[in-house]
């Protein structure tokens, strides 16, 4: 057939030939089929995204603690991969509903894991962009009737192609029947139907409040097949987190400072878990200590040595609690 002589063509070229009367529709379909076969650039890109996926998973593994979370993320990854493969083999597939509830105290890694999930979904071609839009009640709930749906829709629009992460989502149910929070929930549920497969919704908040929130909204509960619990860190995990943060900033703890930090962490854990912001509090302590070290070094008479710059002393942590 003469179209064999035309050489490799792009989609547009095939359509132009068809329109120009150079090929018949049947020939155009044959050319289309061959176009689909020669997908080398795409497969190269795939390998690339495979590598990036491995990077994302390595980053997940580098997080301290969170064993249950890591296992579940691996499960999700495996599930998505198998469903995609089954689709290729034309086997029945489960719909990929990835809306998730994150339950845990503040500072237990929810936002960090959400960001990692976004990137993982992007590299697995579940979401085209995989970015994270982080919102809270005030970003969704409006001030007058109709305002809420509009604000919520705007946030959803921003999140299309990525993840909408609603922190302290239970607060949407606060205020009872007349509260506009309910309107936001309705708009979210509608968007989950209208933009199915286009974005992933993550609701995050304290364990008990989230449980209560989902129980009081059964329609919402059934739409979230994935629940991830973020347990509080124990003292050795918190210490490891602190040391990792310091290492990344090129600081070290003196032995005394280390002991002081352990005491602070233990004291924090003994107090009400609510007030102890877990990793976030530890990060604040570290940042405070770095600032205090700077003040101490500036006021110190004489020359600063490299060692001075490197080490955090116990006094830099201040009185703590």
């Amino acid at each position: 057939m003469h179209y064999n002589n035309l050489g490799p063509m792009t989609v547009d070229e095939v359509l132009q030939c068809l329109e120009g009367g150079k090929i018949s529709p049947a020939e155009a379909f044959t050319l289309f089929r061959n176009l689909n076969k020669s997908v080398e650039p795409i497969s190269v890109a795939k390998e690339d995204s495979q590598e990036q996926l491995q990077d994302v998973l390595a980053e997940l593994d580098s997080l301290i603690g969170l064993r249950g979370v890591k296992e579940l993320v691996r499960e999700i990854q495996a599930f998505v991969r198998i469903q995609k493969r089954r689709a290729v083999e034309q086997l029945a597939t489960e719909p990929l509903v990835l809306h998730t509830v994150f339950k845990g105290n503040p500072g237990t890694g929810k936002t960090t894991v959400a960001r990692i999930l976004g990137r993982m979904y992007r590299h697995m071609e579940v979401l085209p962009r995989g970015h994270l839009v982080e919102v809270e009640r005030a970003d969704l709930v409006g001030e007058y009737i109709g305002h809420t749906a509009q604000k919520t829709r705007e946030q959803i629009k921003k999140a299309i192609g990525g993840i909408l992460f609603i922190d302290e989502a239970y607060s949407l149910a606060r205020g009872g029947e007349k509260d506009f929070g309910k309107e936001a929930i309705d708009a979210l549920v509608k968007a989950m139907e209208d933009h199915k497969d286009e974005f992933v919704l993550i609701l995050a908040g304290y364990t008990n409040e989230m449980e209560f929130f989902l129980q009081s909204n059964p329609g919402l509960r059934s739409r979230f097949p994935l629940h991830i619990d973020f347990p509080d860190y124990n003292s050795s995990e918190l210490l490891a987190i602190a040391e990792l943060m310091l290492e990344r900033r090129q600081y070290r703890l003196t032995e005394q400072a280390r002991r002081r930090l352990v005491l602070l962490i233990q004291k924090g854990l003994r107090m009400e878990a609510y007030n102890f912001g877990n990793a976030r509090t530890v990060r604040n302590w570290i940042e405070l200590a770095i600032r205090r070290q700077a003040v101490r070094l500036v006021q110190k008479p004489g020359d600063m040595t490299r060692r001075d710059l490197l080490y955090i002393e116990s006094e830099d942590f201040g009185e703590g609690w």
Binding site: V11, V14, L15, Q16, L18, E19, G20, G21, K22, I23, S24, P25, A26, E27, A28, F29, T30, F32, R33, N36, A87, Q90, E193, D194, K196
Partner: protein, 202 residues
């Protein structure tokens, strides 16, 4: 919006199927977006009877260009939004008229991105002597193209005609391994299976 495209040779009943299928999915007023091969586009809202009266003809290539109907499909759980795209008929060989060739190019441009392809074949003609010619090269090539994707089904249309039974046998023999639904676009038979197929693949 996801798209379900209706393709096939001229006069196999694509437009009748599109309108009656929309009617079957409980769309009473069809909001149709027309895109002509000359580059114009416009929108019309038609009732089902009016659409049947105005858009259907027994002359080939009555539908020129694309006719896109937006549909909310009710299912057991929730509903899905999609566009049902009716297209110009494909011809065997190269057509002499530029406008018709351009309309076919519009069809092909759409086919590549569609989530679901419903390929209509006239079963009443396929059963006649010289069935291979009736089925033709273009149907075979479309099926080959469809075999590379998941949301592709063949609709053996005009099952209300008595010759169609033989034609269905012939189609099944010619296209082994494909999803084939016998339908009558006129009497709306076999639509439930098609609906479920579309639902699964959107």
């Amino acid at each position: 919006m996801r798209e379900c495209i209706v393709i096939g040779k001229a006069n196999v009943g694509k437009t009748l199927f599109a309108i009656n299928f929309a009617d079957y999915l409980k769309v009473t007023r069809l909001n149709i977006e027309f895109a002509t091969p000359s580059g114009e586009s416009y929108r019309r809202v038609l009732s089902v009877p009016l659409a049947l009266q105005e858009l259907i003809s027994d002359q080939p290539h009555h539908t020129l260009g694309l006719q896109r109907i937006e549909i909310q499909m009710p299912g057991v759980k929730g509903r899905k939004y999609f566009a049902l795209v009716d297209t110009s008929g494909l011809t065997e060989g190269i057509h002499g008229e530029t406008l018709i060739r351009r309309a076919m190019a519009q069809t092909l441009a759409k086919v590549r991105d569609a989530h679901v392809i419903l390929h209509l074949i006239d079963a009443s003609r396929s059963g006649q002597v010289g069935a291979i010619e009736a089925l033709g090269e273009v149907d075979w090539q479309v099926a080959q193209f469809g075999a590379m994707r998941t949301g592709y089904a063949i609709l053996a249309n005009k099952m209300d005609l008595k010759e169609a039974q033989n034609g269905l046998v012939q189609i099944r023999r010619e296209f082994p391994g494909h999803v084939i639904f016998p339908v009558s676009a006129l009497l709306k038979t076999g639509f439930e299976e098609v609906k479920q197929f579309v639902w699964r693949h959107l």
